[in-house]
């Protein structure tokens, strides 16, 4: 075994794990922001799919990757606006609305793909950007600093979002609205404004996650995400609604995926067992969730619409 698992293999696996974790991280950070303000969005996967298609299509037509990324974000913002309208002022039940958003995204992304593209054509992919100096460090450089820009963006968002949530007046309002909207309202904090902002920001990140995935793979197909958005929701619980926790969960998930891929490539897993091995990330996530579950309390107002004066 030890002659198969060399330093090169380990470094490649870790780097691949970080890369695989990126779309999960973007989507679950977005979901965490929404949930901190008390809004559950089960439609992440649908928003990711639409974001993925929109960015894929724009890159295909314009050959501009960054225009594609912007389109993914814009798609997320629009979906977020829609979701915010139905769940905040119209107070629709969040669980069912989210499933509706998912089904809409799943169907609409495929429909648009069939109508506008038809046969899958490859698009330009991100190219790696080596961080000056840091990427030259042996081993560490290769693991952490030779990635595509989307990886750096996702991981830089972790401290940024943690700072916003924990250190800014707006973050304080988000936390208050998610725990006790009536208290926030009584102090003049607009619950609808805060929730609109978090829902739209969260969906923008889901759209970005979709764009990251499509441009990373350089392709789009029906149900490209394969339920990644749902896993991202699970990772929010795993990460106890905190950005660093969500990052840890995404990394665990990415690493397990990378290890399974690597083991298959190296022929360590017999062909007959490869389908079972493909389930490993999901199984390990569920086990991790069970271990983490109930250690932390979810935002008290999660899924509860707020009605003033009740």
């Amino acid at each position: 075994m030890s002659d198969v698992i060399t330093t090169t293999v380990i470094v490649a696996t870790i780097a691949s794990g970080i890369r695989l974790a990126t779309p999960f991280l973007l989507a679950s950070l977005g979901e965490a922001i929404g949930q901190r303000s008390g809004v559950l969005n089960l439609g992440v996967d649908g928003v990711m799919l639409l974001g993925a298609f929109a960015s894929y299509y724009v890159v295909l037509e314009t050959e501009s990757i960054w225009l594609g990324v912007m389109t993914g974000i814009l798609t997320g913002l629009l979906m977020g606006l829609f979701y915010a309208i139905i769940t905040v002022p119209l107070r629709a039940e969040q669980g069912v609305s989210g499933i509706g958003i998912y089904l809409f995204g799943l169907g609409m992304s495929d429909l648009l793909f069939q109508k506008l593209v038809g046969t899958p054509l490859p698009i330009d992919q991100f190219s790696e950007w080596h961080v000056p100096l840091l990427s030259d460090i042996p081993v560490v450089g290769e693991m952490f600093f030779q990635h595509t820009p989307m990886v750096y963006i996702a991981f830089l968002l972790v401290p940024i979002i943690a700072f916003i949530i924990n250190r800014t007046t707006f973050g304080l309002s988000i936390r208050a609205v998610g725990e006790s909207p009536e208290s926030a309202d009584s102090l003049g904090v607009s619950v609808p404004k805060v929730r609109f902002a978090t829902i739209m920001a969260g969906n923008a990140l889901a759209g970005l996650a979709g764009a990251a995935l499509a441009i990373e793979l350089g392709i789009f197909q029906q149900n490209l995400t394969n339920a990644m958005g749902f896993i991202a929701i699970a990772l929010v619980y795993f990460g106890a609604w905190r950005a660093p926790g969500v990052m840890a969960g995404s990394l665990v998930f990415g690493m397990v995926g990378a290890i399974v891929l690597q083991a298959k490539t190296l022929g360590l897993i017999p062909r007959s067992a490869s389908d079972i091995a493909a389930m490993a990330p999901a199984v390990i996530t569920i086990l991790a969730l069970i271990i983490v579950a109930n250690r932390f309390r979810q935002p008290a107002a999660l899924t509860k619409p707020y009605v003033r004066g009740d």
Binding site: T169, R175, S180, E182, S183, L187, G188, V189
Partner: protein, 517 residues
Amino acid sequence: MNSVSASIQSDRQPMLEMRGITKRFPGVIANDNVSFDVLPGEVHTLLGENGAGKSTLMKILYGLYQPDEGDVLINGEKVSLQSPSDAIDHRIGMIHQHFMLVSSLTVAENVALGLSSTRGPITDLKQVAKKIKSLSDRYGLHVDPDAYIWQLAVGERQRVEIIKALYRDVQLLVLDEPTAVLTPQEVDDFFVILREMTSDGRGLIFISHKMNEVMELSDRISVLRLGRLVGTTTPQETTREALAQMMVGREVDNTREERPATIGRTALSINRLSVGGDRGVDALIDFSLDVQQGEIVGLAGVSGNGQRELAEAISGLRPIKSGSISLFHDGNPKPIGGLGPKAVREAGLSFVPEERMRDGAIGEFSVADNMVLHNHHSTRFSRGGFLNFGEIHRHSQKLVDDFQVKTPSIDTPAKNLSGGNIQKMIIARELDSDPEVLIAAQPTRGVDIGAAEYIHARLVAARNAGTAILVISEDLDEVMLLADRIAVICQGRMMGVVDRIDASREQLGLMMAGVTD
């Protein structure tokens, strides 16, 4: 009329005037042409039963509701209060009965919430903490700015609410039943703080139904009944009895009936009971108490000291850690701890829960269905799994008549009844089986005076018929009125039992605060 004459008596300009406020909800007029004003530096009490319109009037003042008619004037100028932030801008503050605090945040974070920061978008909690310290020094409010709300006792939480108001330099503060959660001694301290605030020229609106507090604190008292202003008076011009009469619209009978000389055998025995709490800390520790046939034992204590967990443990809703709970049949103990609610009921215990709409009744269900919630599976009300609607209706109608439950019909959903009538419905159901033991948790909380009187009378009648009754109440007046013996709980421990005849408010207050001699 009243408010006009009241303001003419003074040459000071009112800081607040509410003129001719009318607010209608479907089917009810919550406020009917109500006028009310507050002068700088005065405590103006708003007195009235549940549903009299006090909360509606205050919600209009705080921008939570818009009036259908009438004007609100602040310092003589007409204002429009569309939301709490408008009210805050006019330096109006409100301390709600259920505190508006975010328990997962610190004191400083709760105070800073909704305010702009000296550091722009970034919070300045150190500055906030400093200002909290100086405010608490000045007004004698002792609170640690870095403590999380969930770590604080109820009295401390209330001080946080006061600090929130002072921090915003509130000029007019509404206090909605602020003393409900305090011991008598804490109330004294609290009143000192309030007087400190009025001496700065701030105006206070005090909402309460505790007559002795109202008489002690108020400069003026306005009484609301059924949405209308009955009158405005001062403590010098009125008496507690006259105020009660204004509130209810008739004379109130507050005489108590002594228990019969004969007390029976022990019916309920709680022995060294320990029960876990929701936050990991044990809610009851080594708690012992006996209740005899034909007596009412009142359990007094400040809210959140283990009363809810005790009621749940006795009624089978909460597992016990150690110790025992026993009912007695012909002198033989039957342990019921941890048996579950059905077995406990079958052993002869009835239970009136504290959260009546959560644990005592199903709002969507009809009155008739609610009347048989506990025994619809009995052979009397069902055969082979099919409900016997005829019998259920006959039975429910009889209970509704017997217990004077005011409802359009027994098919009306319970949630459409007033709080007092829902409680009468639950009491009817629970007393109907002639239980050996009745646990009544907060039996008259949020219930109008008329219904409370009636419920008290039924409890006394059940006691006289031999039922052993444990009344768990945070209302010390109720305990002193109803109980033959008074037990006091503090932080999950039994502080002692005294005969009502020997009990004084001061002694009970000290026990409620955990002071033992």
